[in-house]
Amino acid sequence: MPSYDTALYPMEFHVNGERRTIRVRAADTLLYILRDNLGLTGSKSGCDNGDCGTCTILVNGLPQKSCLMLGVEAFGQHITTIEGLVNSPVQEAFVQKQAFQCGYCTPGFIMNCHGLLNVHPDANEETIRVWLESNICRCMSYEEIHKAVKAVFTGSRKS
């Protein structure tokens, strides 16, 4: 049984393609480790309760709510945050379709949709609907968000 002489746990994981070694409090969620320890503030704190989805990140390519994951659980995992997306067609579609108003929910929506693109590159309407249910937009931009995501999957981003 391992024993620790400190309340901080050594941790190594990959964040946006870069290997990071830090010490974390076991009780800290990944959201706060990304934001406070690594300065990656693109993942937002919303409900902190797994309801709103604005803290969504990718864990080994799958979207997860970083407020519902302990940082220590990420040991050895590959984490992608909104800062790690480069030239994602999802980001481009959100811009093209103006799929945001205040923008607070946008990183979470984009990460979720990017995850959907990873897992189901040929997602149908029903799959898109189910996946989009994970995120909430208080500005009610759902129509534009849906159009943006549809555009990614139909390849009609600029129309």
Binding site: T29, K65, E133
Partner: protein, 277 residues
Amino acid sequence: MIPFDFDYYKPASVQKAVEWFQILHLQGKNPMYFSGGTEMITWARRNSIQPGAVLDLKAIPECNVMDFKKDSLVIGSCVTLSALSATNLFPLLSETAQGAADQTARNKITLGGNICGQIYYREAVLPLLLANSRMVIAGLKGMKEVSIHDVFFQQIRLEKEEFLVQIVIDRGYLSLPYVHYKKRQIGNVGYPLVTVAALKKDNQIRTAYSGVCAFPFRSFEIEQALNDPLLPLAVKIEQAIGKLPAPILTNAEGTASYREFVLKQTMAEAVNVLEGR
């Protein structure tokens, strides 16, 4: 943010998990097993629980299997609900799991966590009750396999140091005719007013419920009423309602009287569909 500290351990074997739990318990650490952890993180953030140590079960190989062994499907307790739905080996379980929380949360919530949780609904247990599943449980005396009906009565009943390792389902149940209804007050995500899972075996309809009372349940008395060939449907349902194991729930999702109305409609839908199959 979780307002207190705890120690974190990730045992790589069933035996180590139980041993470490026992040591931590003797040290007065109030240890908790941890699988997906979504519920534990939520309660801890609200300071409703204060474990001094958590034992993450996700590195234990037996807790991550999802495969056939002879004539049974074996599912590890750390398999996520989204993985269950994606593989679709037991369609009723897949559909029921798909109704819990939302897609992103289901990437984290595990079957074992859902069954062993404290929240009323624990819907993933419904198909397992209907299929007379067996639970593989680890404890101080090693592993044991027991009927779900011996350890799940309103909630999972384990000794403090025990944890759920696997669920075993006979292959014969996987392809039986079934229905699953989750009725919410509004929308497609959220807790149910009523969830009904039902399957038909040997010409008998089996039903299990979540959202109706303050715990999920399967009732053999209700099944007896619903399968009585001499009664018209409306009478069957009235009799079934009279055999509920506890008062109908009233909470933010709906009042007891509204739930009862929805339950009656849903029971009728289930019986109508399955009687024709």
